[in-house]
Symmetry: C2
Subunit: 159 residues, 2 copies
């Protein structure tokens, strides 16, 4: 991530390079939209002393799905050691707790404290607003279509 995006997408200064063939590349488009959204997201989450990463960990801890750290790592496309650091931080702040896995005591299940849940609720609302800003160029049905396609690409028709 770097410069650009000061007031959300749509405010860019010309973008003559959109004519380059790389702007038809899905990977590039995903990266660029993600980059712009990240700026807005992190800006919104900073009010809660969270970043995209710690927010997503907090979200999984709040899911009620009792995820292990390993599952979090895989789901978030992060190295297990990065999860350790993120959870250390959240745990230190009293937002999540580690508990030994019920049927596998090697694993640790991460869940949210009441404080963590309260913070998550507020952060979630802010993140939703940031997403709206990042996708302001799309209508509600278009956003639904977009998300549906992304989900299908990731997990197939099932999910």
């Amino acid at each position: 991530m770097a410069t650009e995006v000061d007031d959300g997408p749509g405010t860019e200064p010309a973008e003559k390079l959109t004519a380059a063939t790389i702007s038809l590349d899905a990977g590039f488009l995903l990266a660029k939209l993600h980059a712009g959204g990240s700026v807005l997201n992190n800006r919104a989450l900073a009010a809660f002393d969270l970043k995209e990463r710690s927010y997503s960990v907090l979200a999984l801890a709040n899911s009620g799905l009792e995820p292990t750290q390993r599952e979090m790592a895989e789901f978030l496309s992060l190295d297990p050691s990065q999860i350790v650091a993120l959870i250390d931080e959240l745990e230190k702040r009293g937002l999540v707790i580690r508990a030994p896995g019920k049927l596998d005591r090697r694993a640790k299940i991460v869940s949210s404290t009441p404080e963590g849940e309260a913070l998550f609720r507020r952060a979630e609302a802010a993140a939703r607003d940031a997403e709206s800003a990042a996708l302001a160029g799309l209508s509600a049905p278009e956003i639904a279509t977009l998300k549906g396609l992304l989900r299908k690409a990731l997990w197939g028709p099932a999910a």
Copy 2:
């Protein structure tokens, strides 16, 4: 990014966490699909001693649009200093050249050498295959819709 993705999407081992509300978050979906695609992309580009970053710079140099480094930086959501390093590398390999801007001599226009163009053609084909693999879960029309929505979100209905 990190672990996962060994044979493209659709080969994941369960993904129980898809039920978490964060998997409805556009930012998360964009990041995750991009992460998976990046692994495939970089794997494919490694055969040409390129990474996603250097490939995208090479692509812009091959666009015929005579981009300046600044324009590249903004378009690729990178810091200008990162562009310097990427171009240094490509220039050292004889794939691109810097030329002073015609009407602004501060700016440097980056364009491709014949060698750079030849390499780009081959790398482009490999990148296309990697994209197909990353989006294997979608049909051709769905991919077109997805790209269209991403482009619209970024640049509005025009582009």
